[in-house]
Amino acid sequence: MTINELQDQVIDDFSAFDEWFDRYAMLIELGNQLPPIDDSQRVEQNLIQGCQSRVWLDAHVDEATGHVIFEGDSDAVIVKGILSLLIQVLSDHAPAEIAEADLYFIERIGLKEHLSPTRSNGLLAMVRQMKLYGLIFNK
């Protein structure tokens, strides 16, 4: 599936929820389901700066497909849920696609407030970092 198809799927999944409570319950569930990362990935250089919670993001290129694979973790479950969505949408795509992706799903599922730089939950920093990996691996 393309990045946009995956985004549409996320929007579809969240469209069932009118209430913020349910949306966050979903994020918490996604956060709890995100596979744990290896201790070797839980290192300073994978930490994303500017977050109130700690967020680790690791990326590597799958040699067979040339796609970027993202893995990550956070000590705050909501942040982990958001990270899980980003991984779901962006992981396993070509570097150029990731670098150029327009992530409209965040606003559409009612998480726009988390994009504000003042929230300091690192969503903005996570997105920036993932796209940066796209750019770097594209070269």
Binding site: F21, D75, I78
Partner: protein, 408 residues
């Protein structure tokens, strides 16, 4: 005034408290970060710009004189509020942070040299650590730290052992912004003075909650922020004993701080102007004075009594929540409760309480050494003001319980 019986009226003084947040009535419990403003302060700012706006200390004209008078009246109000010996000892700054930086620079220039020691405590806000670290770096001095115990009380024995011939200044919070501990500053000052060492007290979290008497405390420097005591942002106060201020060089250069200026030589102006370079926020200072009149009208003793009751109630109620951990259990404590609920990350808890209209602070509260003491990354912090109610405490407790269900 008995706040409990007048709480509904008092809340009407603060227009923002009528706000709805995500369709819930706002429950504002982030008062240690900043307080809301009463109408009288908001109107004072408007009045200032409408009727009294002209640069102070500069003009011969009517408006300038009126503005100057209001600004200097504000200085007298602050002086009397702190029971300072003279308004000359009141320096207006942008806030607590600038006031501390001013002392760190100016006192440091005059009195600190290589090998000297500055003492702070383990529970300080970063703004009462970093300026001293910078001073130490500049001068080759050493920063020493008073530790606190797990209840959040300073170790006075350790403090007394830290004092020696090299100690040049002690800088300590009156009330911890993270733990709520009320530090025994009078005793700290007594001990420091016995060793001939002056003391700066960071009163940012104390001034809104209790009457302060700088002469009774015998504090050498006492600093606070206007916006934490229902006044405007961008105005703060440095109280300094005249004897110290006279010996300190100016902090910043600019208009107003010199009596004569030539390219060869300048002569410093007298106190307090020597430390107030450039145009001061004279609208802000008059609005701060209005805020002080407002709390004095209610009575600092009444505010203290009401908030203490509210804190006790909140602590009791919060402790009944399963998995509740409160950081800071000092015998003398006020205004803030720092907590963690089970394994729920404070950021998650804060985000979800926000959805219920409850405003709290999450994070390390610019006091990372405190977090390190307890081996944690962050806490959820509720902090109270005179307008908070018992019902709001109940809303907080119910909110935390509701959020917990999401994590079960």
């Amino acid at each position: 005034m008995d706040i409990q019986t007048h709480i509904a009226e008092l809340r009407q003084d603060f227009p923002i408290l009528e706000s709805q947040v995500y369709k819930h009535p706002l429950v504002y419990l982030d008062n240690a970060a900043t307080t809301q403003k009463p109408w009288c302060v908001i109107r004072k700012i408007e009045e200032g710009y409408r009727h009294q706006n002209a640069n102070v200390h500069r003009g011969v004209h009517f408006l300038s004189q009126m503005a100057t008078e209001a600004h200097e009246e504000a200085r007298k109000t602050v002086a009397s509020f702190l029971n300072a010996h003279s308004p000359r000892e009141i320096i207006f700054t942008r806030g607590t942070t600038e006031a501390i930086n001013l002392v760190a620079f100016s006192y440091g220039e005059a009195f600190v040299k290589a090998g000297d020691e500055i003492v702070v405590s383990e529970m300080e806000h970063h703004s009462n650590i970093v300026p001293w670290q910078m001073l130490c770096q500049r001068k080759g001095a050493v920063l020493r730290v008073i530790p606190f115990n797990d209840k959040g009380e300073l170790d006075l024995q350790a403090f007394s052992n830290l004092l020696n011939d090299h100690t040049k200044l002690v800088a300590v919070a009156h009330v911890s912004n993270t733990l709520g501990t009320v530090n025994p500053v009078a005793e700290i000052i007594r001990q420091a003075h016995r060793a001939g060492v002056p003391v700066l007290v960071d009163g940012a979290q104390a001034v809104p909650h209790r009457a302060i008497d700088v002469q009774a405390l015998d504090a050498d420097f006492y600093v606070f922020s206007g916006h934490k005591i229902y006044g405007p942002t961008g105005v703060g106060v440095l109280y300094g004993k005249e004897n110290w201020l006279e010996q300190m060089p100016p902090y910043q250069g600019g208009g107003g701080i010199f009596s004569t200026v030539s390219f060869e030589h300048t002569t410093y102006n007298e106190l307090p102007y020597k430390f107030e370079a450039g145009t001061p926020d004279f609208i802000g200072t008059t609005a701060l004075a209005e805020a002080i009149r407002y709390v004095e009208g209610i009575g600092m003793a009444s505010i203290h009594a009401y908030e203490s009751g509210l804190m006790r109630y909140a602590t009791e109620q919060l402790m009944q929540i399963e998995g509740m951990r409160i950081f800071g259990q000092a015998a003398d404590k006020e205004s803030v409760i720092s907590m963690q609920v089970g394994t729920i990350h404070p950021y998650d808890m804060g985000t979800l309480l926000d959805k219920l209209g409850i405003a709290l602070r999450t994070g390390h509260h610019c006091a990372e050494p405190v977090m390190r003491h307890y081996g944690i990354e962050s806490t959820l912090r509720a902090s109270f003001a005179l307008y908070n109610t018992y019902e709001e405490v109940d809303a907080l407790v119910a909110g935390i319980r509701k959020v917990r269900t999401l994590f079960e």
